[in-house]
Each structure stands twice: as structure tokens, then as C-alpha cells.
């Protein structure tokens, strides 16, 4: 009986890990897109996600989505709509701020402008967090649907059952569908190809007539939108507040590095790994060490596979 309970626990954690991992994966894909194309460390990415959560929240509650689509599926519609909203926001932020310290302008700056980028995005993060506090208040918000507290039962097989939270299940499906659409867009469309070219070799891309700064703007905008959707999906299960971004920006960077910088699909698997580690570690470690486990696994992978799962490392002399 003990072993049955143990296996059941592990299976339950595995399923939870896969579902959480899919959403984390989407979150990481958003950042991976920005980071892979621009090589800019954006500390405000978590706060973009926070804005995505609030955008979905207000679209759902005050802007008529609930009335139009009902309480069960309305939240998911609102979450998907939050993507374009944040994409526009990201576009403007890049145009107004980020482009001034990144892209082709930074060649003459110390460290290719990395210092300026870091501190600029830290400043933006501060503004968004505190601005969020002013506008949204510090009360916890959430985007719950009736599905959030319902579950599908898988099984019983051999006296064991695994429960799948319905909201999380739908979240994972939406996450994977979004990634599929994005992957198709990047692989097939003209804009997508220019993104890949700009990521691979900005100099050569410029010679080929690609506007690298514009490619950066598109990547930043798309990445912001994708992360916002992931944030919204997360919000169907966890309550959120204006400072929630700080916790997740770290998860996102860990995922992107794990997957290999510059690889979009790698970022997804990186996020998935973190989701799995986080959930599976609960079966053997105390809950407080859940996040410590993430960072330890992250460090181990980086040490033994410095290029990540899907990255490549080239050094020329």
C-alpha cells in the first residue's frame, strides 16, 4: 500500500509538473525570443507578465469579456486578448526606451551597452511594479474560472488515480497551441525569417538589407505578448499582485539558459524542466526548498552543459 501511495504521489507530481511546465515553457519562450534575437537582459520581463495578468483580469471583469463569453471560457479569451495588448505595450517600450541603448546604436558603448540595458530595464521594472501598486492596489487578484476548482480523474489503474485540474489542463493546451503558432510564424513568415537572421548574425543581416533594429522591435513586442499570455494562464490558478514579476523573471532566465540561449524551442524545454523539477521535488523535499531545488538543478545543468539543451557555442580567435 505504501508503494502504491508513493507511486501515486510521484505520478500526480509528474502530471502537475508537465502542466505547470507547459505554462512556464510559454513564459520562457517569450523571454527567449527577446533574449535570443537581441541579447538584451530584460529585467522587466516579469513585470510585463504581471501587466499581462492585470490586462486579462480587467478585460475579463470590466471590459465585457465575461458578459460576452461567460464565466467558464471568458477568462481564456481575456488571456489571449491580453497578448496583443502587451505586444503593443512592448513595441512602445522598445521604441521609446530600449532601442536607445541596444541594437546597432550600442557598438561604441562600453560592454556593447549591456550596463545601460541592465540598469534601464531595472528602472522600468521599478516603475511598473510601483506604478502597478498605485493603479491596481496591493490586494491579491485572480482570474478564476469554475474550471479552476474542478478536476478530471485519470484512472483508476491498479488502484491509483491521478487528478488533473481542468483549468491547468486547458492552460497547458493553450500554451502549447500558442507556441506552435509562434514556431510556425517564425519558421514560415518573412518577418520570422528576418528575426532569425538578425539573431544569427546582426552584421550579415544588415548587409542583406534587413532592418535589424526593426527586427529587434518585433521580437521585443512578440516576446512581451507571449509572456503576457503565459502570465494570464498562470493567473487562473494562483492569485497575483503587482510585485509578482520578480519571482518569475528568475524562473524565465533559468529556463532560457537551460534550453540554450537563442533557441526558441530550447526555451520551452527549459521552462518545462523547471516546472517538472519544481513539482517533482515536492515529493522528496520540504516545500520551502522547492525553489532552491530549481536553482541547484539550474546550476548543475549549466556547469555540465554550458550551452544548454539546444544552444551552440562558437568562439572564434
Amino acid at each position: 500500500m505504501l508503494t502504491t501511495a508513493l507511486i501515486e504521489g510521484v505520478l500526480q507530481a509528474l502530471v502537475a509538473g508537465l502542466l505547470t511546465g507547459a505554462v512556464y515553457g510559454l513564459m520562457c519562450v517569450g523571454l527567449g525570443l527577446i533574449f535570443g534575437v537581441m541579447r538584451v537582459i530584460n529585467f522587466a520581463q516579469g513585470d510585463f507578465m504581471m501587466l499581462g495578468m492585470y490586462a486579462a483580469f480587467y478585460l475579463f471583469t470590466s471590459l465585457g469579456v465575461q458578459a460576452a463569453f461567460g464565466a467558464t471560457f471568458g477568462p481564456f479569451v481575456a488571456i489571449l486578448l491580453a497578448g496583443p495588448v502587451l505586444a503593443i505595450f512592448g513595441y512602445v517600450i522598445h521604441l521609446a526606451l530600449i532601442s536607445r541603448v541596444s541594437g546597432t546604436r550600442t557598438a561604441q558603448l562600453e560592454g556593447e551597452g549591456h550596463y545601460a540595458q541592465l540598469i534601464l530595464t531595472l528602472g522600468i521594472a521599478l516603475i511598473l511594479q510601483n506604478g502597478g501598486l498605485m493603479v491596481f492596489g496591493s490586494v491579491l487578484a485572480s482570474i478564476r474560472t469554475p474550471l479552476s476548482s474542478a478536476a478530471w480523474e485519470l484512472g483508476p489503474f491498479f488502484d491509483m488515480s491521478v487528478f488533473v485540474n481542468k483549468a491547468r489542463g486547458v492552460d497547458a493546451i493553450i500554451a502549447i497551441a500558442t507556441i506552435g503558432a509562434l514556431a510556425l510564424f517564425i519558421a514560415r513568415s518573412r518577418v520570422g525569417k528576418s528575426l532569425r537572421a538578425a539573431a544569427d548574425n546582426p552584421m550579415a543581416a544588415t548587409y542583406m538589407g534587413i532592418d535589424v533594429n526593426r527586427a529587434h522591435r518585433v521580437a521585443f513586442s512578440l516576446g512581451s505578448g507571449v509572456t503576457a499570455i503565459a502570465g494570464g494562464l498562470l493567473a487562473t490558478n494562483i492569485p497575483f499582485h503587482p510585485f509578482i514579476g520578480v519571482d518569475y523573471v528568475i524562473v524565465m532566465y533559468a529556463g532560457v539558459v537551460l534550453g540554450g540561449m537563442g533557441s526558441i524551442i530550447g526555451a520551452f524545454w527549459g521552462g518545462m524542466t523547471i516546472g517538472l523539477v519544481q513539482q517533482l521535488s515536492t515529493t522528496i523535499l520540504p516545500t520551502q526548498l522547492q525553489n532552491a531545488a530549481i536553482f541547484v538543478v539550474f546550476l548543475l545543468v549549466v556547469f555540465f552543459m554550458p550551452q544548454g539543451f539546444f544552444g551552440r557555442m562558437v568562439e572564434r580567435t
Partner: protein, 597 residues
């Protein structure tokens, strides 16, 4: 180097005196605390700067050292009843050891990977401390023995203590900046591969930097615990703590002593005042204003206030001195050394039989690609060997094997009877192998002299020695008249010669020159060729890679032709240039018929 005309020691004394006077006149205890916190964060920013500012390896994890120091000091007093006078040095020790332990595995990573991996340390530790039950640790109050436990009723004493810590850290940083240590770190920042090839043990210097940096961060973390008396994981290991170090340093200016001090002096009072004055009425506004201040300043001064200010001061000053050197016509090499005509060397000088470097059957492949296959050669003393071959023939890869950047899959490299396989580039450099790069790797923000001094460290015990060797090397390539110019302003020819001087300063017996003649005009090629020939006469053995054959035929004693990673032909220039295989490799079969006529 005319960076600062103000005596740096005087500057810090004046600053400390002024700060002490202001601190002593402040009566409001809240402002007294701010006066202390400015110094705490300035010291923390300086500790970050020692590692990240000078080496360019950005650390997002300095909170790890800060937090360990803070917890060590708080817990040491709780459990062992030790005094902070002893605990703060212990905190420094712990911070230093943590730095060493963190640095050793993490320095394998580069660039963004390093930065992001560093992020993980404090956060992993944070959760461990929470799990251990140290959510909130309070330093026990000892009213009866205030001095012994550093618990003064007058908060201004803390300010003075913090000021002492700051002065010590500034002096330490200035010492590092001026010494070989700082020069090595700056060289690593500008170009790690070039620094390694110039004989700098980059890993050792980086470990020293992170150890020192961790020690300073640990000490100030311990002091912070004593000032605030309460330690929580978030307040010392949190993301915002690491960010604080970056913020003050980058806002003020990275890679300078004054940057973090300026940053802390502006940002900390601004944040605290906003927090106290506005934050209580309308929470969030203070953070928005603070964030906006950072955004605006960084858009106006992307490299920090210090550098912006310095550039402004520089721009105002007339640039007559710089123009002065420009108008004096620099003597050409031919004028300096009239006795070095360009001619084929093999006519009058027999090649020595002494072998200085022997390579036996060296191979290296990348996955399925055999970049270098079974190459053997003997470098004879004072000879010049030309290595030629078409694009992608494996020439540069071969050099990378010869100076330790890459490890061969098999084969032997023997210098002076010593097997060299598996050694690092700086060890090859010590053994007498100098090199230049195809893609030039100057330290752009440093002057010619400083660039070359970096190369001289490997062969010198003292800094005076290094300066002498560097001056000598610069003289040998004929750049003495512009030795103070910044590398970023030089022409291609001057850069090539400077790289040559940097390699020479390490007193090599073997020089590997990778396309030293590339990108030079006709007259310039002759000048550089003359320098190389003179070096060969001065007891240096040279291997030079070239793409084109014309200049080489006049320069070298023998050729080694590589194609698809393997030796195609080896021999004296006359034979090699007529060899049909060489012509085919260069021109393709189609042109063979034409070439032979």
C-alpha cells in the same frame, strides 16, 4: 596615462573629511541612518565593481556574499556571543571563501551565462535560510557593553565606522587599479583570449578578484546586520540586494573607484527621502519617481555619471596636445632603421640547425570535420616559417593548437624538450610562445603602452620591469613616438605593430603571427616585413600565417602549405611556389594549365 591630475589619495581624504563633518552635524536620527546606508551601499557597489567593473563579468549574485556576511555576524553573536569587531572580519573571510567556491565552477561560463548563473546562488541560499527557520534573526541588544558589541546610542558613530570601511575599500580599489592586478583584470575585460595569450593566467586573476570582492561584500553585509539589528533572507539575499550593487555602480559609472560612491550618494538618499516623504501618503509613487530618475539618467549617460562628466570635462579642454603629436610627421620605419632593406633572407643567412619547437603528428577535429590532420613540423632557431593555404585550410586552428587555445586530439608539441600538450595559453606564453591574432584583439580603451605592458607581465617580476620591457618592445616595432595614444584611435598598421609589440614584450623565443600583413597597403607591408625580419635576426623564431603569397616569398625561409587541414607541401619558397599541387589548391584544377605556362 593622464587620467587624473588630482592626487587620488588627496581626493579620498577630502571626501572623507567633508562627509564626516556633514555626518556629525546631522541631528535627525533618520537622516543619520541614511548617511550610514549611503556608505554601506557604496562599499557594496565597490565590492561588485572589483569583480564586475574591472573584469566585465557581470555578477547578479553579490547578495550571496552580502547575505552570508550578514547572517554570520548576526548568528555568531546569538550562538557564540562573539563581538562584531571579530565577527565582521570573520564575515569577510566567509565572503571571500564563498567567492572562491562560487568562482571556481562559474568562471567556466562566459558573458551572459556567467551573469545569469550568478543569479542562482543567492536565491538558492535564500530558500535554504528560510527553510532553516531564520526568517527573522534579531541581533541581541547589549546595552551594558555598547562598545564591545558595536551598539552605540549615537548613530553617527556607525556613520564614522562605515566611512572607515569605505576609505579602506577605496584605497584597496585604487591599489588594484594601479597594480598589475588591475591591469590584468582590465585586459581580461577588454579581451580575455588576448589576455590569456599574452601570458596572463586569467582564471587565477579572476579568482583573486572574486575572492576579494566577496570578502568586501561579506564584511559590509556583517556591518549592515549590526546597523539594522534585524536580518531577514529577503533583505540580505534578495534579488533587490544584488540589484542594488549593480544600480549604484552602473548609475555612477562602472570600472572606476568613484562610480559606486557617486551612485550611492545620489540614489540612496533619493530613494529614502521619497519613501519617507511621499511613500506614506501614496504608496508606489516613490518607486515610480525613483525608477524614472534611473531611466532618464541612464538614457542621458548610458555609461554612468562619472564617465559622462569626464567626457564633458575632456571635451571642454582644448585638444591641442593630441593634435601636437599628429602634426609632427612620425618617422617611418625605414628612416628609423635604414639598415633593414627588404630582401629575400635565405640568400645570405644559413638556417640554424637548432630546433626550438617540434610538432609531431598533431590532429584536431570538430565533430566530423578534420580541421587539422597529422601535421608535423620543426621550427629552426631564427628562421621564419610561412604557413599558407586557402581559406578554411586549418591555419588558424593549427595556431590555436600551437599556443594552447585548443587541445589536439592526438600528437605532440615539444618546446625545449618539454611536452606541452594540455597546458593553457598563458603557460605556452611562459614557455616562450607569443602570438598575434588574425582578428586583431587590442585592448581598445588602453593606450599602446598599457596594451604592451599587459604582455610584459609574464616576463617581469615587478611593474617597473614590465614598463621597461614594454618600452623596449614598442621601440623595436617603431611605435615609441605614439606610445601614449589610445588603441581605439590607431590605424590598421599601427594596431598590427602594437600587437606585435605586445607579443614581443613577453620575451618570446617563438612568435606565431596570424595574418599580420592582412589589410595593409603596399608600402605598409614592406614596413611590417622589415620589422619581422629584424626580429628574426634578433634571436626570435617566427611562424607566420598568410593568405597571399607575394609578400611571403620575400619574407620566409621555408613554407608549410596546408590544405583541408593536412600538409600539402613543405619546403623552400622557390620549390613550393612552383609545385603543381599548391597551384591547384589555390586556383583549382581548371586554372592549372594556365598557371604552368
Amino acid at each position: 596615462m593622464k587620467v587624473s591630475r588630482i592626487n587620488p589619495l588627496l581626493a579620498i581624504i577630502v571626501f572623507a573629511a567633508l562627509y564626516a563633518v556633514i555626518a556629525l552635524t546631522v541631528t535627525n536620527s533618520y537622516y543619520q541612518l541614511i548617511m550610514t546606508l549611503v556608505l554601506v551601499w557604496a562599499v557594496f557597489g565597490l565590492s561588485w565593481n572589483i569583480l564586475s567593473g574591472y573584469t566585465g563579468l557581470i555578477s547578479f549574485g553579490h547578495a550571496a556574499f552580502f547575505g552570508l556576511g550578514a547572517y554570520a555576524t548576526a548568528l555568531g553573536q546569538i550562538y557564540f556571543d562573539l563581538t562584531p569587531w571579530l565577527l565582521i572580519p570573520i564575515a569577510a573571510l566567509i565572503g571571500g571563501i564563498a567567492g572562491l567556491l562560487v568562482g571556481f565552477p562559474t568562471f567556466r561560463l562566459q558573458g551572459h551565462y556567467f551573469a545569469l548563473a550568478m543569479l542562482a546562488y543567492p536565491l538558492a541560499i535564500l530558500y535554504v535560510f528560510e527553510w532553516l527557520g531564520y526568517q527573522e534573526v534579531t541581533v541581541p541588544i547589549k546595552r551594558d557593553n555598547a562598545f564591545a558589541y558595536m551598539q552605540f546610542s549615537d548613530p553617527r558613530i556607525y556613520t564614522l565606522l562605515a566611512l572607515a570601511l569605505l576609505v579602506a575599500t577605496v584605497l584597496l580599489t585604487q591599489y588594484i587599479e594601479r597594480s598589475r592586478f588591475g591591469m590584468a583584470l582590465r585586459a581580461i575585460k577588454q579581451n580575455e583570449a588576448a589576455a590569456e595569450a599574452a601570458g596572463i593566467n586569467t582564471l587565477a586573476w579572476k579568482l583573486k578578484a572574486i575572492t576579494l570582492s566577496g570578502a568586501v561584500a561579506g564584511a559590509i553585509g556583517g556591518f549592515y546586520a549590526i546597523v539594522l539589528l534585524v536580518v531577514t533572507p529577503q533583505s540580505v539575499f534578495g534579488m533587490l540586494v544584488s540589484a542594488q550593487a549593480l544600480t549604484v555602480a552602473m548609475f555612477g559609472g562602472v570600472g572606476t573607484v568613484w562610480g559606486p560612491v557617486i551612485g550611492a550618494a545620489i540614489l540612496i538618499p533619493l530613494a529614502e527621502t521619497l519613501h519617507a516623504e511621499i511613500g506614506s501618503y501614496f504608496p508606489g509613487v516613490e518607486g515610480v519617481i525613483f525608477g524614472m530618475a534611473i531611466v532618464v539618467v541612464i538614457l542621458l549617460a548610458p555609461e554612468g555619471l562619472f564617465w559622462k562628466f569626464r567626457d564633458l570635462v575632456k571635451a571642454k579642454r582644448p585638444v591641442a596636445s593630441a593634435l601636437g603629436t599628429e602634426t609632427e610627421n612620425p618617422p617611418t620605419l625605414q628612416e628609423l632603421h635604414p639598415a633593414s632593406p627588404v630582401r629575400a633572407p635565405q640568400l645570405d643567412e644559413p638556417i640554424s640547425q637548432e630546433v626550438v619547437m617540434e610538432v609531431r603528428g598533431v590532429s584536431r577535429s570538430f565533430g566530423g570535420l578534420k580541421a587539422v590532420q597529422d601535421v608535423s613540423l620543426k621550427l629552426h632557431k631564427n628562421s621564419i616559417l610561412g604557413i599558407i593555404g586557402p581559406n578554411g585550410a586549418g591555419k588558424t586552428t593549427f595556431f590555436n593548437l600551437l599556443n594552447g587555445f585548443l587541445k589536439p586530439n592526438c600528437g605532440e608539441i615539444i618546446i625545449n624538450g618539454r611536452e606541452m600538450i594540455g597546458l593553457k595559453p598563458h603557460e605556452f606564453c611562459k614557455a616562450g610562445v607569443g602570438r598575434t591574432f588574425q582578428i586583431m584583439r587590442p585592448f581598445l580603451r588602453m593606450s599602446i603602452s598599457e596594451n604592451v605592458i599587459v604582455g610584459a607581465y609574464v616576463a617581469s617580476k615587478t611593474d617597473v620591469d614590465a614598463r621597461r620591457l614594454a618600452a623596449d618592445a614598442i621601440e623595436r616595432v617603431g611605435l615609441s613616438h605614439i606610445a601614449d595614444r589610445i588603441a581605439g584611435e590607431l590605424t590598421t598598421k599601427e594596431l598590427r605593430l602594437m600587437e606585435l609589440a605586445r607579443a614581443l614584450a613577453g620575451q618570446p623565443r617563438i612568435l606565431l603571427l596570424d595574418e599580420t600583413l592582412a589589410g595593409l597597403g603596399h608600402g605598409e607591408v614592406d614596413e611590417v616585413v622589415a620589422v619581422i625580419q629584424r626580429l628574426a635576426r634578433e634571436d626570435i623564431t617566427i611562424a607566420i600565417i598568410e593568405h597571399t603569397m607575394q609578400a611571403m616569398v620575400r619574407l620566409v625561409h621555408s613554407f608549410l602549405v596546408l590544405d583541408h587541414g593536412a600538409v600539402l607541401v613543405a619546403g623552400i619558397p622557390d620549390e613550393v611556389t612552383r609545385n603543381p599541387k599548391v597551384i591547384e589548391a589555390y586556383l583549382g584544377k581548371k586554372w592549372m594549365a594556365h598557371a604552368q605556362h
